[in-house]
Symmetry: C2
């Protein structure tokens, strides 16, 4: 009798394991809220049912799909790029924030404020064609390593979130990235890493200009901000690119608050979730006072509104994908 | 013998008719060019094969997917809207171009130039929420009638192009609209009319602002141009929204030239096509000197480059969908 029970329990466990859409999520309230929501909006004939075409889910990137410490990875790209270009710019050795970037003095880089960051961004992201920028990002993402983990940045993504993306797509959701980061930076590697194609990436952008070079039409990247996809910009970017209100949104910082509010204000069922960085051992622990990904107002509102708060330490069995499991950008395969 | 041949010919005809993806297109060079291109890029293992995810096709709207005479239909919407609002704006009866719009004096409306058109557009398209604008367009598209045909505007679309959209989607193309018209105007009815969802509509836009009204977040439409998706703007809009170069593009006027050039400059096989308005009986005949949809430089380049020129009169068996065949916006069903 004991043996049959054990066998039954074993079979049940195996059965669950093979059908669990979120194997890296520990059983508990968070996982239940996510699966309950998906089952409700996909159950035909119910009040909560949502047609497949309207199953829009939006995900912030930095701190929600991949890590963002010690600073946003795209800033590390900008600094690496400034270093690579520094031989042609001797004046940078006596100009801030370029000098600090070249010397790896992150404190001074961050101390240069928004204006200084913009100078680094423009020096590294503008005055080239869209194809040239694509090639530069591609090479960087395939070769650069995170300063403390020494992993490729595309392996600093969250395994539980990769499973969530797959789960939602399997349930006919249309999944979008809505990042404060650069749209053209993200598009190079989002498809290989997340399975999210370029047309489903929304992000900040600089202006481009259509012109002719050597008899070929090119898009030249100008040193001028076009759109900042952060804060109140996120619902605007969603409206501009998708033209539909999401029914599920995931963020991790105050820059995601308006997107979450916009999603929550829609008719019908919605899933509003924050990734809370609580794991100082396996990842990082930060929220209200962080210099990156500050989470204060959005956390207060999540608690007040009963949104889903994903506790990385408690809810995630795994943080990063197992080595070799994560796909790279297509040309690197 | 004669009888069996006739029967065989009949069977062959029936066989072809049921499998013809473009039944409203007459057999000839144009139809052959389109089908040959699709068969080439979808044939696995060949040099021309394109992965499904990269099969991007972009379509201009006015004059390419639906008619555009006597003036762009969105301008007729703006004029109808100005009339509906005129009771609250007595000053419009003494101000141009509002007076002309209210009185239906199209010559004076068009004579007011770009500045005058902008005033009409802003008065009819701005200073309301995105949801309010959506409702206004929805009501107009469901009730307004074309001034000469008396048809709903959604039945002034081209049946051969509807078949082409279906054919491309069946072959795993991702189909986008790239219109000089307003993105939010188009999105209301593009899905019901063309099967093109809001996220696949690219167009001109005005700026929006995220704000709170009666405790709900709204996007308020501002009287300020954000982006003009015409001419050199079309490759920029494609890059911003799709992030990939199309392999097939369809236009009908000089405003589409840069999109066609951008598509033609890609690696690999491409299909570049112009709809040429040659049918003065069933539709309209116009090109080089037209006040709407002027086709001069793009026609010259099409001839020079060997692009596909669709001759409406010669190539299309049918122009408009049969009555009742065309779907309306979903709420009107």
């Amino acid at each position: 009798m004991n043996h049959s029970l054990t066998l039954a329990a074993l079979l049940l466990t195996v059965g669950c394991a093979t059908t669990d859409p979120l194997p890296s999520w520990r059983d508990g309230a968070t996982k239940t809220q996510i699966i309950d929501f998906v089952e409700r909006v996909t159950a035909e004939g119910t009040d909560d049912f949502v047609e497949p075409g309207a199953r829009i889910a939006t995900f912030d990137n930095d701190g929600t799909l991949w890590a963002e410490q010690p600073v946003y990875f795209q800033l590390l790209f900008a600094i690496d790029r400034v270093r690579a270009l520094s031989a042609d710019h001797p004046e940078w050795m006596t100009t801030q924030p370029f000098k600090a970037a070249i010397e790896g003095d992150m404190e001074s880089v961050l101390g240069a404020g928004m204006e200084g960051l913009m100078e680094l961004l423009m020096a590294s992201h503008a005055n080239m064609t869209s194809d040239e920028f694509d090639a530069i990002v591609r090479e960087w993402i395939d070769t650069a390593r995170h300063p403390t983990s020494q992993k490729p940045y595309t392996r600093m993504v969250y395994q539980p979130m990769l499973e969530l993306l797959d789960y939602l797509r399997a349930e006919d959701f249309d999944v979008f990235i809505t990042s404060g980061g650069g749209i053209d930076f993200l598009r190079v590697w989002a498809e290989g890493t997340y399975g999210i194609p370029p047309q489903n990436v929304i992000g900040s952008s600089i202006k481009t200009k259509f012109e002719w070079r050597d008899g070929e039409p090119v898009l030249t990247r100008l040193a001028e901000i076009d759109f900042i996809d952060d804060g109140a910009g996120k619902p605007i970017g969603i409206h501009n690119h998708i033209g539909r209100r999401p029914i599920a949104s995931f963020g991790n910082s105050d820059g995601d608050l308006e997107m979450l509010q916009w999603t929550a204000a829609g008719d019908g069922a919605s899933l509003i979730a924050l990734v809370h960085h609580t794991d100082e051992v396996r990842e990082w622990a930060y929220d209200r006072d962080s210099h990156i990904g500050r989470l204060r107002f959005a956390l207060d509102e999540a608690i007040e509104q009963g949104w889903t708060v994903i506790d990385m330490k408690a809810d995630w069995e795994t943080i990063y994908p197992a080595s070799g499991k994560q796909s790279e950008t297509p040309p690197a395969d």
